[in-house]
């Protein structure tokens, strides 16, 4: 009994699915149906996305979930919140917390100019302002650091080589360095689109004429409607023309040399096309021509398919070059503490490069100056960090929810008066909604700053990217 019921439910589900599919087909006109048909013939295989815009707090913050800094910041404003840390060291009773806000100069400029930062013209004209960003934040010191105060973090970053900005092939008002390869790719994409547009127009017109004259369509629709059309024109000076055209069958009309079409043929064609190739009329045509007719249409599409394959290839190439292009920036950051708390100043060079599809390499090299505010308490040194970011999930959007990424990084720090510190980190970045991510990291260190023992710290937090949030809300309107 139960089996019979399940079968009925399954059958009902299949019926609903099938009727749903046919309903979808019924809502398409010839133009949209052709777009879908052509699209089905080409395989879009672009699944990378920009992965070099840092929304996490600066890496020098002890509570940052990031070991490495990236070349560029969010286009507008981003916020990073480190909620808690879980340490293998039993002395870490208090959860460290930090908060940092990074704003691009572009967002401040848009605010100053009272302009919509996502306005196309304003965005393109002021790309240079997106090269510079400022960070402000605070850090609760790690308990083992011996500092009990909030540390104030301030920093600035300038993107010197910027090849991942969409408008970097346009006219930039500030320090433009054009990526010749990428601009060539964009020019190729434009040319491919032009050729594909032309091919689409030729296919559409060819199919319209094929359908108009196809035997079953002609017998059922074209011939009787042509007769009625001529009758409606039979008045006054048109009478002679109508008499001349009347004996012709549809097969003899609408010939391949369209320059020879009569005025009435042109007018009828427009009338017929608007009636039978629109959303209301096209499903009936499709039913009429059946599988044989659709196969004929597919062969017409196949004849011009190369134009659409080239368009897809050009689009893929342009996007991949956009997403893997090298970037280089310089940054300066300070961490200052009141009273006897240590101050730290860091100058940094940052390099990002897409080494392979969906794999980004970030390299940082810093010079660090630390003032412990005690006699002889000044130390200097260098830090080198490298991280590979692997994009785990296929995400087909530049904006919207980020893909899940898995990062592996390593760091070495060599300061005067202390032994070298080596750290390794693994991190998973989990997208929650558009513009909000949850980074979770585990860091392994041979020693922490003040305690000469091995340590493992787990950190997690949230990052907010207002560009994506704004895009999401604009899109939702």
């Amino acid at each position: 009994m139960k089996t019979v019921l399940l079968c009925r439910i399954a059958l009902a589900a299949v019926v609903v699915l099938i009727s749903g599919r046919s309903l979808l087909a019924q809502n398409e006109n010839l133009n949209d149906w052709l777009n879908g048909r052509i699209n089905a013939k080409v395989q879009a295989q672009i699944d990378q996305r920009s992965n070099a815009k840092q929304t996490e707090g600066p890496s020098q913050s002890p509570n940052s979930t990031s070991l490495v800094d990236q070349t560029s910041a969010s286009d507008l404003v981003s916020m990073a919140l480190s909620l808690a840390g879980v340490s293998g060291n039993s002395s870490d009773n208090n959860s460290p917390k930090s908060l940092s806000v990074t704003a691009s100069a572009y967002s401040l400029y848009a605010l100053f100019k009272q302009q919509d930062p996502l306005d196309a013209q304003f965005y393109n004209d002021n790309a240079g302002w997106r090269r510079f960003s400022l960070t402000l934040g605070y850090d609760n010191d790690l308990p083992q650091s011996g500092n009990s105060n909030h540390a104030t973090i301030a920093g600035a970053k300038f993107l010197i080589v910027n090849n991942r900005d969409l408008s970097s092939c346009g006219n930039l008002s500030m320090g433009s360095i054009k990526s010749t390869t990428r601009c060539k790719s964009e020019a190729k994409l434009f040319d491919s689109l032009k050729i594909a547009s032309s091919s689409f127009g030729q296919i559409e017109l060819q199919i319209q004429l094929y359908l108009l004259k196809r035997d079953d369509v002609a017998a059922t629709l074209t011939a009787p409607e042509w007769k009625a059309f001529l009758e409606s024109k039979r008045a006054g000076p048109n009478d002679a023309v109508v008499n001349q055209l009347e004996p012709d069958s549809v097969k003899d009309l609408f010939g391949p040399d369209r320059s020879k079409w009569t005025r009435f043929e042109k007018m009828f064609f427009v009338e017929f096309a608007n009636k039978h190739f629109d959303t209301a009329g096209f499903p009936a045509i499709l039913s009429l021509i059946g599988k044989d007719g659709i196969a004929q249409i597919d062969s017409v599409i196949a004849g011009q398919a190369q134009a659409f394959l080239d368009l897809t290839d050009s689009g893929t190439q342009a996007l991949e070059e956009l997403r893997t292009a090298p970037q280089f920036s310089v940054a300066f950051a300070s961490t200052t503490r009141p009273g006897t708390g240590a101050n730290q100043y860091v100058a940094e060079t940052i390099f990002d490069y897409g080494v392979a599809k969906r794999i980004n390499l970030s390299l940082n090299n810093t010079f660090t100056y630390k003032d412990l505010k005690t006699l002889g308490g000044i130390t200097r040194g260098s830090r080198f960090v490298g991280e590979l970011q692997f994009q785990l999930t296929k995400e087909k959007r530049l904006t919207g929810r980020d893909p899940i990424s898995f990062d592996v990084g390593g760091e070495g720090e060599w300061m005067t008066k202390t032994s070298p510190t080596y750290q390794g980190q693994v991190k998973v970045n989990i997208p929650i909604v558009d513009g909000i991510n949850l980074p979770v990291s585990i860091t392994f260190a041979n020693r922490t700053d003040l305690i000469n023992e091995r340590d493992v710290i787990g950190k997690f937090g949230f990052t907010f990217d207002t560009t994506k949030l704004l895009s999401f809300f604009t899109k939702s309107k």
Binding site: N29, N31, I46, N124, L189, K194, F200, G315, L398, K475
Partner: protein, 132 residues
Amino acid sequence: MGVTKSPRKESVAVFVEVSGGEFLLYRVTVRGVRPIFTLVDSEVNVLLLSNKNTPANNSPLVYERHWPLPADSREAVANHTLGMNFQAAPITYSYVVEHHLANGSLVLIDDIDFTSSTPEDWFFQGLSVTTD
């Protein structure tokens, strides 16, 4: 394909009495950054309008084109196709085609929004155009 098409008015074909002074006006309005689009006459393979033209308005970005212009070659039956790329998604193209009659009045032929959040998307909107 992630293109959302929202037509307020859509036509498949139009007959334009060019000899009587009629013409078409094409208008593409862009909301988003870095548009890439081409409007071509597929019969003569000629670019009528694209993102490389000087916009009629900058904010929002509006591109316009009268057809036919004196220099345009005109076929008796043609297809004018707008091809849109969404590399800088999310982006919305609003496509309007007006048929201006000899008496100065106009008939709206197309008024359609195309929106996508997927950068690899493309979409084509054709209009068959016959002239006297």
